[in-house]
Subunit: 243 residues, 2 copies
């Protein structure tokens, strides 16, 4: 049995056929027999190339690092800062719960796909705080390099599809991308607004004008949700969190 | 202007119409004029009911709590335990990267939708360790009560759709659900296997038979990925992490 190199502990599989065969025997609770050979390229049952699968698994393991990229925003309970992986999940859930606010022409499954992918580049490029002007100057270059490396881990057909999702999100031109971007902005607003403490707006002295500019994509990408923005900003001004 | 009660800081909006009108004037960086009135129920531009939106936003805020539900598994870098929100994101990304291993009849967008939803009930029910026999005895009852409350926060049409996703995932009968379940099991295997330390398998003295039983849904839900399971278990046995 050929080793799946990318997953292998070096040397662990060398000449270990007998042990593999032991494993392949049905054990306790194992409900059905093996299907020998499904891992061979071109096999009609598995449709799998070992090299191709190795690339895909390397990508999946690499994605784990997005859980360690911290955003400026905190959880609503303010126990800690939010990471980009859980933020991305929150956005996909918002897309399902708020689907009816998508603009005409948006395709919800594609919105969700874009939201899953949209911040993967932060594995290399890090999170860039929306209101940090200097950090945003080279954000594009950093994220493009990250996309090149990260999506390049995948077989080209898969990598190209995910990269196209990221590029569409960034361009913010299609109805699906505009809804995805609106949700991204709205999520930041909700976690800043919900506890009533002003969140990162207050912490970093962000102005009402800056927040309105940051939230502007909601007005076109999910116009039915714009009043949520206006009311949250109103509350933050009233409470003295932003001026 | 009527307050969006669910988002409101108590009293913050009372009689504040003039300030709202100030906010509605284009400010610095605000690229376009407001669209007054889109927040009214039945409005042709916003398609929005205030009560309905309040329910949806309450649900979105409630979802933030899934970020604080810890699983037994740790990140691949072993810096901390994984939470259920970021785990859910990882699964959706795996569905995109490994889509070609879905069984015949699976619908990828629906797989992703199910993966977004599948662990939401853990907000109330907590994560139940796969190998904890006693905790799994009342898992179903705890999660059903959680689904009732959580999806009940939403307008019925939306809540019913998400609940149906959760139920389909749990039943594990449709091709889409079988692929989603396979990915859920595979993700646990990958984070246990990747660093070569045996992860929770070693930590909790899990046997080879238990791991094989836990992973069995992969064999039917993503047969092309089954060799990944066999090889990872082989490595763990070789390394002495499981017996």
């Amino acid at each position: 049995m050929k080793s799946l190199g990318a997953l292998a502990v070096p040397g662990a599989n060398a000449g270990k056929e007998p042990e593999v065969e032991q494993l392949l025997k049905p054990g306790p609770g194992l409900p059905s027999a093996r299907q020998p050979g499904i891992r061979q390229p071109g096999d009609p049952h598995g449709h799998m190339s070992v090299d191709r699968l190795e690339q895909q698994l390397a990508f999946v393991r690499e994605l784990d690092r997005l859980k360690t990229v911290l955003r400026r925003t905190s959880l609503i309970d303010r126990s800690r800062r939010e990471n980009t992986a859980e933020h991305s999940w929150h956005l996909t859930a918002m897309a399902l719960a708020l689907a009816e606010y998508a603009p005409s022409g948006a395709d919800l499954p594609h919105v969700v796909e874009m939201l899953v992918v949209h911040d993967m580049v932060e594995i290399d490029a890090g999170d860039t705080f929306a209101f940090d002007v200097s950090a945003n100057l080279d954000k594009g270059a950093r994220e493009t390099a990250a996309a090149q490396r990260l999506f390049g881990l995948l077989p080209p057909d898969v990598g190209d599809r995910l990269r196209a999702c990221w590029e569409e999100f960034e361009a913010n031109e299609t109805p699906s991308a505009r809804f995805a971007n609106a949700l991204d902005r709205l999520q930041g607003l909700i976690v800043n607004d919900a506890p009533g403490d002003g969140g990162t707006w207050k912490l970093h002295g962000v102005s009402r004008g800056q927040v309105l500019e940051r939230m502007a994509p909601i007005e076109t990408g999910a116009p039915g949700l714009w009043p949520v923005v206006v009311e949250a900003i109103e509350r933050a001004v009233e409470a003295g969190h932003i001026a």
